[in-house]
């Protein structure tokens, strides 16, 4: 079904359809879709994807029957189950969870860091049907685990979440995406870090082949704040990770890391982008990928250093291992620098597993497969050993073992 018809038919259960400003914005978006020529070559958001699935989709949404649960089992630790992108409201003296409001929509649409022609971001704005807002109050140290569940087949979730870390707070957030049904989640996370706050964000993605997951995040860091993001993508379905960060005040840091494991016909699109808008900020973008069978991946990384952002340190690294003849990897590490007192670099490598290393291990009596597996594990060891949380480390190890068992 075409996008406009989809929208008009389902307008009732889409958020904020009474708000005039938002309606105006959406009319413009529909116009964009009408005139879009879907230029796969120049539009980064469309590369390598099966367009048909995302243009001619059928909109379907169901308000979850069972209200989502918040479990306060330990003092500073919370578990949240978000069903179909929704979450019940909750409030105590440490955190506050509410629905998203009209103003949050506008807040996002004005943001100019995210590219205007991003097909999926525009779809999300148009069909927004779920989402929540979490505020971590001043000087609290909080752990949260969110399980994202989609209940039925064919659902299309368009979700927008807001995370706000108030001054001096620390948030450790683990998000799990493990869905087995044939559905699509299109999620935008808007993250704001106030002075001196720290946000460690882990995303574990492990969906079945029929589930499409599209995550876009935008974080902005104020003075002395740090945003760390780690993405572990074990999904067998399509995953898109587009993460943008803005360092708007001095001494802030953004660290965007990810590893992905692909096999069969799977595709994954990844992008990280950091905008340095103030002095003395640091950023780090590291993505590593292992591609088997006929899988395809793209990774776009971008460091933008504004004229005023002197003393910037910005690093990028992208590494890919191709295990099969038919896998392909595209990377575009970009540097845009307008200040002179900076240290910026990027490195990018793509290739097979080092034959000399394999030879070394084999000469010590290992089989070729065992040697390959060891070398793959060591390739991403740095990312795995940096996980503090024991429970999480175990989960990821298990998933890695499952992936390696398919490597031949």
């Amino acid at each position: 079904m075409n996008i406009q018809d989809n929208y008009l038919q389902n307008k009732k259960n889409i958020f904020f359809s009474e708000n005039k400003d938002i309606q105006n914005h959406r009319d413009k978006l529909i116009n964009i879709f009408e005139n879009d020529k879907y230029d796969k070559k120049n539009n980064e958001s469309l590369r390598n994807i099966n367009l048909k699935n995302f243009i001619d989709f059928k909109y379907k949404y169901q308000i979850p029957e069972e209200t989502s649960v918040i479990n306060n089992n330990q003092e500073n630790s919370y578990s949240i189950v978000s069903v179909n992108g929704q979450c019940t409201s909750f409030k105590d003296d440490r955190i506050e969870i509410t629905k998203i409001l009209d103003e949050d929509y506008n807040d996002f649409s004005k943001n100019n860091t995210i590219e205007k022609n991003d097909h999926f971001v525009n779809l999300n704005s148009l069909f927004l049907n779920s989402g929540f807002k979490i505020v971590i109050k001043k000087n609290n140290n909080i752990k949260i685990k969110i399980s994202n569940i989609v209940t039925d087949d064919d659902l299309t979730i368009f979700q927008k979440n807001n995370f706000i870390c108030e001054e001096g707070s620390t948030l450790n957030l683990i998000e799990e995406y493990e869905n087995k049904n044939n559905s699509t989640s299109n999620i935008i996370n808007v993250i704001k870090l106030e002075k001196n706050s720290i946000f460690n964000h882990f995303l574990i993605q492990d969906n079945s082949p029929n589930h499409n997951l599209i995550i876009t995040s935008h974080s902005s860091c104020k003075k002395d704040s740090t945003y760390n993001q780690k993405v572990y993508n074990f999904s067998e379905g399509y995953v898109r990770n587009f993460h943008y960060s803005e360092l708007i005040e001095t001494n802030s840091e953004a660290d965007l890391q990810g590893i992905f494991f692909l096999k069969d016909n799977n595709t994954s699109n990844n992008k990280t982008s950091v905008k340095h808008l103030a002095e003395n900020c640091k950023s780090n973008q590291v993505y590593k990928g292992i591609l088997n069978d006929r899988s395809k991946a793209t990774y776009f990384s971008n460091t933008h250093v504004n004229e005023v952002a002197q003393k910037t340190e910005g690093y990028q690294l992208s590494k890919g291992i191709l295990l099969s003849d038919n896998a392909s990897y595209f990377s575009k590490p970009e540097l845009k620098i307008y200040a002179d007192d900076v240290k910026c670099s990027h490195g990018s490598t793509i290739g097979p597993i080092d034959e000399n290393a394999i030879f070394y291990l084999r000469s010590r009596g290992m089989s070729k497969i065992a040697a390959t597996k060891i070398l793959i594990s060591s390739f991403i060891n740095e990312e795995l050993s940096s996980i503090d949380d024991e429970q999480m480390s175990e989960i990821i190890q298990k998933k890695l073992v499952r992936y390696l068992s398919k490597v031949k």
Partner: protein, 483 residues
Amino acid sequence: MNSETLNTLDTYSKNKYKYGFVTEIDNEKPKKGLNEDTIKFISQKKNEPEWMLDWRLKAYSKWKKMKEPKWANLSFPEIDYQDIYYYSAPKGFEKKPKDLSEVDPKLIETYNKLGIPLEEQKVLAGVAVDVVFDSVSVATTYKGELEKLGIIFCSIGEAIQKHPDLIKKYLGSVIPPGDHSFSALNSAVFTDGSFVYIPKGVKCPMELSTYFRINAENTGQFERTLIIADKGSYVSYLEGCTAPKRDDNQLHAANVELIALEDAEIKYSTVQNWYPGDEDGKGGIYNFVTKRGLCSGRNSKISWTQVETGSAITWKYPSCILKGDNSIGEFYSVAITNNFQQADTGTKMTHIGKNTKSKIISKGISLGKSQNTYRGEVSFLRKADKARNYTQCDSLLVGNQCGAHTVPYIDSKNNTAVIEHEASTSKINEDQLYYCRQRGLSHEEAVSLIVNGFCKQVLQELPMEFAVEAQKLVSISLEGSVG
């Protein structure tokens, strides 16, 4: 930044373009603007056969439907293609002069000013020169010597007359006229350029060289160079460019095609010093150049070296298509931008054959308010087994109003191919500066030394004749420089 640095920066920005003189010479031009008549005029002036005119007209009809490529990180007002003269020749060149005595002495004077060894005694220095003045190839020196070896080195206009078979076979085979709008434009209106054919097994004993100069006002220069290296041959080709100072922007859209057959090697070096515009960004050449080499045979090699210091806008991506097994592509580049110059330059390495190798070394230096972009694509196709690429692009920033950007595209479809890419951006290292100054060098000398060291990896790839010139050019560009 300390006051000394500011002072030296200031001195540098006032540094003048020394090739900015105009030669007063009568020119012959058609009417301004581009239409079929202009193309017919050019074709007729050059006394071209029917098939060449058809080829041009076909390219023109393609061009009419095309838009300029917009992806480069450049901003400039729209080019009015109807406000340009597409042909300009010093008067009296309908018939080519037989030797230097027939050439207008003013022209000779011009080239002497540029320091080009046109006269025979200077030719003994070992450089064979083809000089293109505006649209016409003025003189090709050292021709006889080359003919003995069977090497054809002449203007492309002459080649169309004398070697139609080679032209028909190879012209447009690497850069099809319909590739993009500038290649279509060039194919329609190209006026002159060089043609080189090196026969089987011949190693060209001297450096071949072309000097391009745009003299007339409002003229575009559209040269076309075609170099064919037959099996087992070798040639080294040099190219230099200058233009007078003018307040208007002038257009230069060249196409260069290289073809290396089995075991052949082509080395192509450019020192581009078109007029870059003044301190306020007024005037200067718009340089939209398409250069592409095809390593069609096994074990062939194409190497591009460029030193880009001029032009208001540089849009240039010398690329290699590595089709033959074991073929090698190389790209060495130094790009210096100052004042309001914009450069978007880089390369494209397409690995098709097995065991193909490519190496990219790019050094960008931005000063003043300039923008310097490296844009390069390396792609390994399915059959490029054991292909290898190494890319290094470094940028040096001088002053806080300029920009340095790196935009690599890396695409691998083969799991035995290995690709490595590195890039860094920084300003001149304070420690190095301090070290040099401590040893008694002035600030300027120290900076010049460090920058020359920064570029050395590329400059040493240039042939002797150019290496000296290039090093001077870099020093001049940095005269009174940096911080």
